[in-house]
Each structure stands twice: as C-alpha cells, then as structure tokens.
C-alpha cells in the first residue's frame, strides 16, 4: 500500500516537473522560466552588465572595449580580423536573440520557434528565394579573400559569445519561447542583408498594375499611376549634362500576359518605409564645414533595428549605426567623411508568368524550347507539429513563388520571381571600404561594390565636398517594362543588361549648396534611361529642399530641427480645397467643432495639435472611399499615390472614380469629401468616448515601438508628432529608426545621434528603451568619437577581450 502510494506521488511529482520544464503552445516552460536562480529573473540588470574581462578562443591580440553613457561600444583592436571578431562578440552580447530571430525570419524558419501560425510567412520567404539569394551572396563573399575574412571573424565573435552562455544567461526571449541559440554561420550575415533588401524592394506592384491595366485601360493607368508625378526637384538635377553614351536594347512591343492575375498576395510592406538624407555645403554653414544628416524610416521595433558602434583599428576609425548581424557600420562617419542612405525606390523585381509543359511541372517553355525545371523540397520545421514540406520549382528566372500550391488563386497560373537580390553581390566589401574611405574618390570606389538594395548615398567630407549617388545594380529596361507581369515564355523580356555604374545618377558640389534625397524621383528628364518604381515620394523632399534652400550660417541644431520638422505640406496643399467642399449649414455640433479646429490649424502635426488628428482621420476615411473600385478582396490592386489622389480631387473632380459604387447617386470629389468628413469626425468621436480625452495628435496617433514578438508587455508607447509624408515621418509603427547629424569640421568632426530604443536588447536592462523618450522629444546624444585615451575618460564600463590562455 505504502509503495503504491509512493509510486503514485512519485509519478505525479515527476509529471508536474516534466510539464513545468517544457512549453505548451504559447505558455512558457513555467518552472524553468519562473525559477529565480536561472529563469527570467536572472535577466534583471541594474547597470551596464558588462563582464570586464573575457577570455575567448580565436582572437589574435587583446581588444579593448569602452562603453559610453549610452552603452555604445568603442572597440579598439590591433587589426581588422580582431576588430570584426569583437564587433560580432559585442553585438551578440547585446542583441543575440534579435540577430538570430531576424535571420530565422529571413530564412523562413519562424514556425520552428512559434508554431504553425508563421507557416504562410515561412513559405513566402522560401518561395521568394531568400535563402537562394543569401547562398548566392555567400558564394560571392567567400570568393573574395577580404570579404571572407570579415564574415568569418564576425561569425567567430558571435559564436565565442554563444559559447559563454548557460541557461541563466540566455536572452529573455529564448526562455519565453523555450529554445536555445544555434551557432551563427556566415550565410546568416547574407540573410540579414537580404532581409533589408526585401523590406526595401517588395513594394513592387507588377500584379496590381497588370490588373489595373486589364480593368481600367492604358489611358486610366497613365492618369492614376504616372511613372513620374513631376513635382519638386529630383534627387539629382543635372539636366543636359549626362555625357555618356547610354546602352540600348532592341525595342520590342510590350506583351502583358492574358487575363487578370488571381494571386492573393500575403505580405505587402508598409508604404511608410522611406528615409531622408541631405548634406549642406560649407558655404551654407556657420563653421564653413559641411553638415550631413540621415534618418532611415523603418519599422519601429524593440530590440531596435540599429545598434550604434565605434570601430577602431590601424586601418579604420568609424562610428555610426550597424545592423546587428552584419559586419561594419552601415550609416555613419569616420575621421574624414560621413555618409547615409535613403531607399532609391527603383523597381528591382519582376514577375514572369510561366507556362509549364504539363502538370508534372518538369519543363517550362522558353522561346520555343522546353527547359527543365529544378525542384527543391523545402522542409519547414514547426514547433510541436510534424514538418511541412513545400516543393518549390526553380526556373532560370528564379523560384516560382505563386503556383497551384501557393496563393495563385487559379491553378493554371504560375509566376516566377526575378529579383536583383538573387544575384551575387559584394555589399560587405562596399561597407568595409566605405568605412575606410578618406575622400570623395574613396566613397565612389566603395560604392562600385554596392549592388542592392539600391540606395541614395549622401556624402560629405572634412575636405569640404558634398555629393549624392543613386547606387545599385539596375536592369536596363525598355519603356514601360517592369511595370506589369511579364511573359515568361519569351527571353526577349528578360533582363538583358544592367546600367553600368559609371552611368548611375550622381553629382558633387551642386551650385545650390546642398544635396538631398527623400525617396523622390531620382533624376531630371534628360537622363537617358527608363526609370520605374512603385511610387516616389512627393512631400518630404519638397519641404526639406525648401528649408535647406533658405538656410545660411546653419548649425547642427538646424539639421536636428529639420529632422524633427512636423510641417504637413500635404495638408497645406489639400486642406483648403477639402474645406471648400463642405456644406457648413448641415453640420452637427461635433462637425462644426471639427471644422473650426481644422480652419484654425497651422498645418503642423505637433503632439498637441488636434487639427492634425481631424485632418488625418478625414484623409484615412477619404482614400478608401475614393478608390472603392479597387477592392483588394476581389483582385490585387493598388491605390494611386496620395499626391495623385489630391491632384485628381483638385483638377478632375468629375472623374468616374469619385463615384461611390455602393450608392445609387453619382458622386463627385466634393461629395466624397463631405462623406469622408462625416466618417472622420465619427472616428474621432468614437476615439474620444473610448479614451475619455481630447484628440491630441500624439495620443490619437499613438506611436508604438513594438517588440519583435508583438508582446505588449515588452513594447513601449511614446508621445511623438509627425506622420508619413512629413519630414519627421513617424506614423504609428514606422518612423525615423535612426537620426544622425554630423558636422565635418577640420578641427575635429562632431556627431549626434538617437534612435527609438536602446543599445541592449534585454528587456531587463536599463538600456533597453532608454533613448526612446529623448527620441520622442527630438533631442540627440553627442556621439563620443576619438582615440582610446579620450574615450576612456567618458565611459561607464570597460571590457577587455583577450586570447584564451589554453
């Protein structure tokens, strides 16, 4: 009896321990997780949490790391191999989970961690050829001895950090999801860069445009989706001075495949992705030296997309923002130059409709030949479930993304995906060289290695030069080519050649005294190549150029003020017209209040502004009402841009698209404006009654820095003005992910920076979200830059990485 009872309780106790030692669905392994000796409690830190002396395998010489008051590491190494090793180690120390999670996302492996909720996402990643692209990039890295050393040492550094970890040291998210880090590999550096390429290139809308063409006709297309909106200055205006002889290809009538595409696209990146950069010539600054600014607008997330770092070795002294998981500094400055990027927006993606010979899909038609297709079976592991196997067919164009088994909507349709990022490229070398560039010539040389995602690279040097270069590898296109789905059976529509680097859009020290870019159209109309894109920006760029044009004797504070500028040019150009459409006699009380607030509004989306809330609510109701013909539930279609929409309201109010299809009446633009106004006011009233407060813009917009796992508890809300189409481009979840200002003075370069997050990715660290408030207020941290003696006087922690004694 005793032994039976003993056996029962022993079994019960063991069963409970077992069930508390593993996770169940979204419930963490509670015993392990809550254990104060090893579980999440051990992630609590009261200070920098830096281990002062670390012995590591694989270092050549001792490396000194100093952490300044923002926990930015200043790394001093005796050679470049140790420098990249230390960058890997130090970055992993603060951001390991994020680095791995982002590369798992890139590779389509999220189901492994969170279960089958991510299966569709994972399949998409694989079918876009993310790993195919990364492996091609890796081959290219490994064939270059310098690039190979860089990624090898960076990888070793990360793995050296991973090797020091016991369960209690693991980042919180591993404990929460109950898994452990795997070793880093060089291909992960490539995946990370391809992830960024995906964010910046996947705004493409070939299928949407194809459907629009079929449904509305060419004339309407040109009205609704012009290649060029022709507003404001292009990034580079060098009219009449393109002296090279352009490459040409045979002209060929464009053939768009028959029928509408029935594809159901799964992911569509937010249009709020964008960036600003500019450089002011010394003739316009107080010190006589150039000023350079950059703020990339990306998803606002915790841990942050960027990790600030200072790298110093005998060959380099560079500081700025790095991407955790990629070696070198991406946007920053060294002793001689500074640079920054904005997305070039160009169309680097095409979809080819494939004709397979039969259902086996072993062969597909290309000109008059049946070419063999290559099939790859992808295993997608799923937490708590058996693996999912996905067969992906590769053509010479690239992987077939949409087909009978994935979102094609119609089993006869198969679309192969051609993406510039699939091609081998040398971005690692580009940044390695850019970090070391001493002059304009060095910057030009480094950028020759940069293929994609195409960027507008701004430049300024201590010597006094400013420049802009739209750099990337661009397919040579015939007019209109790339806007629509292409016929995959004819090689004539394939990318025949690329625009040579020497023909790319670039200029230096223009007469106006500044260079700038904000994702607008790249170049004046005399540039001899056809350019197309999803959309080009129409407002930020004009505001920036208007402000920069007026500046004289400018200082860094003027640059900061401009980055934080909340002037809503779109509202200034549209609201007076919108208000004219309203019938003031039919207002209820709420509408009358709204009308008065809007009339008194100064067009600034400041945190305290209520006018901004009413305007944005009105606009958000208006756009879908106007483009109600474009119901994405029926066919993939893309709304025309904000600029074009407003232009049509002003110039073409009787356009048939203003008619609301659900009503029997025939509406014109003013009718739609009135209806949208009522809806916008209702939205605000609903919000007011839920929140019990007035619609201040910062509250109504509610800028939100969300944790990558979308866990509210690990995320932060912040009071912030601005919005998309505004220089301070903070919408709800997108915005300036890094703000940098550099003054390139001959007596010593000075720089400032801030980002909406913190250096540590650990939610238990005081450095997890400590910059967010300053970011929200538009203030900056001075970035300490100098030799180890200077820096060592301004630090909160020091760390010595030395060779293992064995």
């Amino acid at each position: 009896m005793k032994f039976t009872r003993f056996a029962i309780f022993l079994l019960l106790t063991t069963a409970i321990i077992y069930s508390l030692n593993r996770s169940w669905g979204s419930v963490p392994a509670l015993g392990k997780f809550l254990d104060p000796f090893h579980g999440f409690w051990q992630n609590a830190e009261s200070g920098p949490g830096i281990n002062p002396e670390v012995e590591l395998d694989g270092l050549g010489a001792t490396v000194a790391v100093f952490y300044d008051s923002m926990l930015i590491p200043h790394i001093y190494a005796a050679n470049d191999n140790d420098l990249y090793f230390a960058q890997g180690y130090v970055t992993a120390q603060h951001r390991l989970w994020q680095m791995e999670f982002q590369t798992h996302a890139g590779a389509g492996r999220i189901s492994e961690i969170i279960g089958d909720a991510a299966l569709d996402f994972d399949r998409t990643q694989r079918r876009l050829g993310m790993m195919y692209a990364s492996e091609n990039a890796l081959r290219s890295m490994e064939s270059d001895p310098v690039a190979k050393e860089i990624v090898t040492n960076y990888t070793r550094g990360i793995n050296a950090y991973i090797a020091t970890l016991d369960y209690e040291d693991l980042p919180l998210e591993y404990k929460l999801l109950d898994y452990s880090p795997e070793p880093w590999t060089p291909v992960k550096c490539a995946i990370l860069l391809k992830n960024m390429a995906k964010t910046l290139n996947m705004g493409e809308k070939d299928m949407e445009m194809t459907n629009a063409l079929k449904l509305f006709g060419k004339e309407t297309i040109d009205l609704l989706y012009p290649d060029r909106e022709d507003v404001g200055d292009p990034v580079v205006d060098n009219a009449g001075n393109w002296k090279f002889k352009p490459l040409t290809i045979d002209s060929f009538p464009l053939a768009v495949p028959e029928g509408l595409t029935s594809v159901r696209r799964v992911d569509k990146p937010d249009k709020d992705v964008g960036s600003n950069n500019w450089a002011l010539h010394g003739s316009k600054t107080r010190t006589g030296s150039p000023l350079l600014s950059n703020d990339p607008h990306l998803s606002l997330s915790l841990p942050s997309i960027w990790y600030a770092i200072h790298l110093s070795s005998p060959t380099v002294n560079v500081m700025g923002a790095s991407l955790p998981g990629a070696p070198a500094v991406i946007s920053g400055f060294n002793d001689s130059i500074a640079w920054g990027m904005t997305n070039a927006q160009r169309d680097l993606v095409d979809l080819y409709k494939i004709q397979f010979r039969d259902e086996k899909r072993d062969e597909y038609l290309s000109d008059s030949v049946w070419k063999p297709a290559r099939k790859v079976v992808e295993e997608i592991r799923i937490k708590g479930k058996p693996s999912f196997f996905d067969t992906i067919v590769y053509t010479h164009h690239g992987p077939v993304t949409y087909d009978q088994s994935f979102h094609a909507g119609d089993e006869r349709n198969s679309y192969a995906f051609r993406w510039l990022a699939h091609d081998p490229s040398d971005e690692v070398i580009a940044f390695h060289r850019l970090n070391r560039a001493k002059s304009h010539a060095g910057y030009m040389d480094a950028l020759d290695y940069f293929a994609g995602p195409a960027q507008n690279f701004v430049f300024a040097s201590v010597r006094g030069d400013i420049a802009m270069r739209v750099q990337g590898k661009f397919p040579l296109r015939r007019s209109e080519e790339g806007k629509y789905v292409l016929d995959g059976t004819r090689t004539a529509f394939e990318w025949q050649a690329f625009i040579p680097n020497a023909h790319n859009v670039t200029y230096k020290n223009p007469a106006r005294g500044f260079v700038s870019s904000a994702n607008q159209y790249p170049v004046d109309s005399t540039y001899p190549y056809y350019i197309t894109s999803t959309s080009y920006e129409a407002y930020r760029n004009r505001r920036i150029n208007a402000v920069l044009g007026k500046l004289t004797e400018a200082g860094p504070e003027d640059m900061m003020r401009l980055q934080f500028d909340t002037y809503n040019l779109k509202a200034a150009e549209s609201l007076p017209v919108f208000l004219q459409a309203l019938d003031t006699s039919s207002f209820n009380d709420k509408e009358r209040t709204a009308y008065q607030v809007l009339r008194g509004w100064n067009f600034y989306n400041d945190p305290d502004s209520e006018g901004a809330s009413y305007y944005e609510a009105w606009w958000d109701a208006l756009r879908p009402l106007i483009w109600d013909e474009m119901d994405r539930n029926k066919y993939l279609l893309d709304f025309p841009t904000t600029f074009t929409t407003i232009k049509l309201i002003k110039e073409n109010p009787g356009l048939s698209f203003f008619d609301i299809q659900a009503t029997p009446e025939k509406e014109t633009a003013p009718d739609v404006l009135r209806k949208a106004f009522v809806l916008g006011v209702q939205d605000i009233e609903k919000w007011k009654s839920e929140k019990h407060k007035g619609p201040r813009w910062a509250d109504f917009k509610d800028t939100y820095i969300g944790h990558l796992l979308r866990q509210e508890g690990l995320s932060v809300h912040v009071q912030h003005g601005g919005n998309h189409d505004i220089v301070n481009a903070s919408s709800r979840t997108f915005g300036p992910s890094w703000r940098m200002v550099v003054s390139l003075e001959k007596t010593g370069l000075r720089a400032w920076g801030v980002y909406p997050g913190g250096q540590s990715g650990n939610a238990g660290s005081p450095y997890y979200s400590n910059m967010i408030e300053m970011w929200g207020q538009g203030t900056y941290f001075s970035l300490p830059f100098g030799d180890s003696t200077t820096i060592s006087k301004r630090i909160i922690a020091r760390q010595q990485l030395s060779m293992s004694k064995q």
């Binding site: 508390l20 015993g31 809550l34 254990d35 009261s46 919180l172």
Partner: protein
C-alpha cells in the same frame, strides 16, 4: 518546531542544489528532507510548499529590489495576471508546489502511522 526546522532544511538544501544545478533539482532536496523528517503527508507537503515557495519568493524579491528593474513589470504584463504581485505569487506557487509534492513523496516511505486521507 520540527515543522519550522524541516521547512528551513528544505529551503537551505534546495537553495544549495539549484544554485548550481537545474531548477528541478530542488525537488530532490525537498524529497530527501521529507524522507529524513518522516512527518505526515500534510506537514511534509506544507514544509515543502513553504520551504521552496518562500525561497523562490525571497530570491525573486531580492532580485527585483536590488536591481530596481522594469523587467518584473514587463514580464507580469506578458501573463494574463498582468500585475507584479501576482507574478511573485505565481513564482512562489510554482516552486512551492513542486517542493511540496517532492517532500510529501519522500515522507511516504518513512512515515510510520497509516495515512488517513
């Protein structure tokens, strides 16, 4: 008095074990003390519950107070319970439950009188 000593023994032995080894080794400590003290089922269970529960409560409070961390609140918001007092309570209960059961299981082998439940 014996109960208090038994509870303290569980606390100390469990702390020593799990300071170095995985969390569940504290169950071995509670089991051993339960075996040695040979109390009845309820007493053994409560000695384990209190011994490990208080140990986990004390350690988590110590970490929370000494680091002044925002982590406790952030993690509390990940759970449906939302508040930090409940997070401390859940932490103590999870540890305490395992400690209690282990202690009880150990006592079954050595407790002389018949169980009455």
């Amino acid at each position: 008095m014996k109960f208090v000593i038994q509870t303290l023994f569980i606390m100390i032995l469990s702390a020593a074990l799990q300071a170095l080894l995985p969390w569940w080794t504290m169950a071995i400590g509670a089991f051993a003390v339960g075996f040695l003290f040979a109390s009845n089922g309820w007493r053994s269970f409560f000695a384990g519950l209190l011994g490990v529960g208080l140990l986990w409560l004390g350690m988590s409070l110590f970490i929370d107070i000494s680091t002044q961390t925002a982590l406790t609140e952030r993690v509390a918001r990940l759970f449906p319970t939302k508040t930090t007092p409940l997070l401390f309570l859940v932490t103590s209960l999870v540890g305490g439950l395992v400690g209690g059961l282990a202690s009880l299981t150990g006592s079954i082998l050595t407790y002389r009188k018949p169980y009455r439940w």
